[in-house]
């Protein structure tokens, strides 16, 4: 309590909270993401689980933007359906987001910009604070209202009795780099918020219960950053890309990180060049990556078909966003599954995997590197906009045991070297490797025999097609049965993939608390699928696939369509949506109710 600047007087109640969902609503240039990022980092440092949720408009600057932080002392699985607190910077922020507030929730609004609300509404605790003018007054000079995000951070720190010293050190680290003047203004704004006599207008203070002390400082980052670090850990040293939201932050980080590792990431002139340059690096004997979002993945498809045919290893990160076409560039969707698996011409089997949360972005990237090398083929990683931008805290990976320095294979190849043996996996001889027999290989997109010589022989084409197919199937044979969350048999099995993992899990927990026999199965390997699913599905009356894509012409989402095709099981049903937002937990439960009647 020593941290509290405005001590709660005797008539103020102190409310203990297990978790809190705080939504900041303003415009994108107000830096509300910064508030969210600070709170998330603080929570990571104070041994609390944290998940954040961010939406940004697709315009460069301006336009409505929100950031939602879900702070909890236990496991946080979703960004939270409704918020406990709303901070509204503008009239439109207030109007658009007041409905997200729980009954009894607290709305802090900037009384400089928001009209006085209906104070008769006793469902909501309204707290008007002149955020803009107080910030301007505190900073003075020409700063105008820049800094009001940091003022609000100070206010939140006061309200929740957060550890001031830690926050101050985070603010110093963030703004110290930007020069003395900027740091001074930030500190003044923070102090003004922290000292603001909020007790005059709100007779409550809050204390977030700490979880059990783990003594562990977690790392706090967004999914694209975790993905980048996973690629580096997996041995990626070369690659190429082209800017597109929401993939760009991965390529930006690779571009600036790789030189330290002796590598190069090339900004290419277009998506076709990006995938081709990355394939050139892969052919040269390196672990190589390209990436994009849906429209860019479409442009890469011809070269990816080549990679399947020539059997070159390549990691392809696809950060899904709303489609088709330019679609909803800053919204989340899972509508690239079919494209990832089937998007190229010809019979073109390849591996597709998907991370479930921010931490998993790291491990999926590492696995993608391993799979590409082992199976010598493209591996597409399907992440999405929600994972890319949201921030979570997680345990630092055991880097010492994970990270290996990649070595370039320049071994001499024996005279009987065959890159494409009919009875084994492809192992190329990268350029620079001497050939004992004096005959050098040409890697080609033409159908070829075991030595890589072009062959138009129809029998050879069928055998090589089978070889490329069986290689991918052999991975499916090795995949363990996905763990079922809940009981192994019951009424409803909720199947999901990608970033819906958290909300689905929370929905199943909630249903089970209400006595329902629900379980959840999460798929990480999308192509090939694990072989266990038929047996696992059998033990449930309903198998319901929850997806963020359209139900299609025949009433099933993209994953459900694949599962129905493979298992011909009419019990497989799906619920789909394309509103560009992550699933709310209650929404999942309502949809399942609608299906199971």
């Amino acid at each position: 309590m020593s941290n509290t600047a405005a001590p709660a007087s005797s008539d103020h109640s102190l409310i203990e909270l297990q978790d809190a969902v705080i939504r900041f609503a303003g415009n994108s240039q107000d830096g509300i993401q910064t508030i969210g990022a600070f709170l998330a980092k603080l929570a990571g440092r104070s041994e609390r689980e944290v998940m954040t949720y961010m939406t940004i408009p697709s315009t460069i600057s301006g336009g409505p933007s929100i950031f939602q932080v879900h702070l909890g002392s236990g496991e946080v699985l979703s960004p939270g359906d409704e918020s406990d607190f709303l901070v509204a910077f503008y009239q439109h922020s207030y109007e658009n987001h007041i409905s997200s507030l729980k009954k009894g929730g607290v709305c802090i609004y900037d009384s400089d910009h928001v009209d006085e609300p209906d104070l008769e509404n006793k469902d909501i605790v309204h707290v008007g604070i002149p955020i803009t003018s107080t910030t301007v007054e505190a900073i003075g000079g020409s700063a105008r209202d820049r800094g009001k995000n940091i003022f609000v951070l100070g206010l939140v720190a006061q309200l929740f009795q957060l550890k001031k010293e830690k926050l101050v050190s985070l603010v110093e680290r963030q703004f110290g780099r930007k020069g003395e003047g900027v740091l001074r203004n930030a500190m003044v704004a923070f102090d003004a918020g922290f000292a603001y006599p909020i007790g005059d207008v709100l007779n409550m203070a809050f204390n977030l219960k700490s979880g059990e002390a783990t003594g562990e400082e977690k790392v706090t980052m967004d999914g694209n950053t975790a993905m980048t670090l996973g690629l580096l850990a997996g041995g990626v040293r070369f690659g190429a890309g082209y800017p597109i939201t929401p993939w760009s932050t991965i390529m930006e980080q690779l571009r600036s990180e790789l030189p330290k590792y002796g590598g190069v990431f090339v900004q290419a002139e277009d998506e076709l060049a990006a995938v081709s340059i990355a394939l050139g690096c892969a052919y040269s004997g390196h672990t190589s990556v390209t990436g994009s979002s849906g429209p860019g993945l479409s442009l890469k498809m011809e070269a990816l078909s080549y990679a399947t045919m020539a059997e070159l290893p390549l990691i392809v990160i696809n950060v899904q966003r709303g489609g088709p076409s330019t679609g909803l560039p800053t919204s989340v969707e899972q509508s690239d599954l079919m494209q990832a698996i089937y998007g190229s011409h010809g019979d073109c089997p390849r591996i597709v995997i998907a991370p479930k949360d921010v931490e998993d972005c790291f491990y999926v990237a590492v696995e993608a590197c391993e799979l590409a090398k082992e199976y010598s083929c493209p591996v597409i990683v399907l992440t999405d906009q929600a994972l890319a931008t949201r921030i979570e805290a997680f345990t630092e990976p055991d880097l010492e045991s994970l990270v290996e320095e990649p070595e370039l294979d320049q071994e001499i190849r024996a005279e009987d070297f065959k890159p494409y043996p009919l009875d084994g996996l492809t192992r190329h001889a990268p350029p620079g490797a001497p050939m004992e027999g004096g005959k050098y290989p040409v890697v080609t997109g033409l159908e070829h025999d075991e030595w890589g010589h072009p062959s138009g022989n129809p029998t050879m084409h069928a055998r090589m097609n089978a070889r490329r197919r069986e290689k991918i199937k052999s991975l499916g044979d090795k995949l363990p049965a996905p763990e079922i969350f809940g009981d192994e048999e019951g009424d409803v099995l909720v199947v999901g993939w990608g970033s819906t993992w958290g909300p689905i899990r929370e929905a199943v927990i909630r249903a089970r608390e209400n006595g329902k026999a629900y379980s959840a199965l999460h798929l990480r390997h999308m192509n090939p699928l694990p072989n266990s699913l038929a047996e696992q599905f059998k033990k449930f009356s309903h198998v319901i696939v929850v997806e963020m894509n359209d139900e299609g012409l025949y009433g099933s989402g993209q994953l459900a369509t694949l599962l129905r095709a493979r298992y011909c099981d009419p019990r497989i049903q799906s619920t789909c949506k394309t509103d560009g937002l992550t699933y709310r937990v209650q929404d999942i439960l309502d949809r399942i109710d609608a299906i199971t009647g």
Partner: protein
């Protein structure tokens, strides 16, 4: 590989070319063998890369590490090889359709980046593999299957495009002039950076005789650039030669000493690794994770 064994034309010869008898590309291949014989690069360090087209079959006919990639993307692929493997000698081959049409944008960007590799374009003014459609260099009036009444689109000027794009070595030669071709190839290969040689290479099936004007044996004139008079470092002078009436001049149009992308990336690597003290991957990653605590 034994250090003393010389690399011979025989070592470099692979499958017999599938080109039509009389195709200009045979001479390009022969000149390439001879120049490699002279330069004596380690055999395993030679890498030939091509896209799609008749001339893009080139890698099958050179016994070296090779790649037959997709249409138009030989240069980006070769860029990846060159940047990630500075120890290799990287060669890209292709024709006018592959390089100036479907891959035209990549040419500008490989040029501006000055990627260290040599690119040979066998320009025959026609699509040969697909059997006589108009190409980006087909002259106006050329009757093809896609322009039965004669081509109406203005052809591009490859030499202007190359100089404008920023290629640091730009030369033009003729497949019937083998000695000249070899001289130009050698200079292109030894040039550090992005070097391009445009070779007029006749398609005897779909556009016979088109390059006779540059062939003295067919009554034409093979007008070689006199470098005493033409300053190869002068971009404007290069444009002026490029503007000359067909068949124009042959030889080196432009040559510039400019840092390669390979060198600039390596400098960034060296500077970065000096700052980190050459730390290994695990330590670098631990540092990075520490920034997120």
């Amino acid at each position: 590989m034994s250090e003393t064994k010389k690399l011979t034309k025989k070592d470099l010869t692979a499958d017999h070319p599938t080109w039509c008898p009389g195709c200009g590309d045979f001479a390009v291949l022969a000149a390439f063998y001879k120049v490699l014989e002279k330069l004596q690069f380690p055999h395993e360090k030679i890498c030939t890369i091509a896209g799609i087209g008749c001339s893009s079959r080139f890698p099958y006919f050179v016994n070296s590490h090779g790649v037959h990639f997709i249409h138009g993307r030989a240069l980006p692929f070769a860029t990846g090889v060159s940047l990630s493997r500075p120890d290799l000698h990287v060669f890209a081959f292709g024709g006018d359709g592959d390089g100036y049409s479907i891959g035209g944008n990549h040419l500008d960007h490989a040029a501006r980046k000055n990627v260290n590799l040599t690119y040979v374009v066998m320009d025959n003014f026609v699509y040969g593999l697909t059997k006589k459609q108009t190409s980006p260099t087909s002259p106006e009036g050329f009757k093809s299957k896609t322009d039965p009444t004669g081509a109406i689109d203005r052809p591009i000027n490859p030499m202007k495009k190359l100089v404008y794009g920023g290629a640091t070595f730009v030369a033009r030669t003729h497949a019937t002039q083998v000695k000249h071709m070899m001289q130009v190839f050698e200079r292109a290969i030894l040039h550090p950076g992005f070097s391009v040689v445009e070779v007029l290479s006749e398609c005897v099936v779909f556009y016979p005789g088109i390059f006779d004007d540059g062939n003295p044996r067919k009554g034409g004139e093979f007008d070689i650039i006199d470098e005493e008079e033409h300053d190869v470092t002068d971009e404007n002078a290069a444009y002026q030669i490029a503007t000359l009436q067909y068949p124009g001049k042959f030889g080196v149009f432009f040559e510039e000493d400019r840092p390669t992308k390979n060198d600039l990336e390596q400098k960034w690597i060296d500077d970065s690794q000096q700052k980190t003290g050459g730390a290994g991957a695990a330590d670098l990653l631990k540092d990075r994770f520490a920034a997120f605590k």
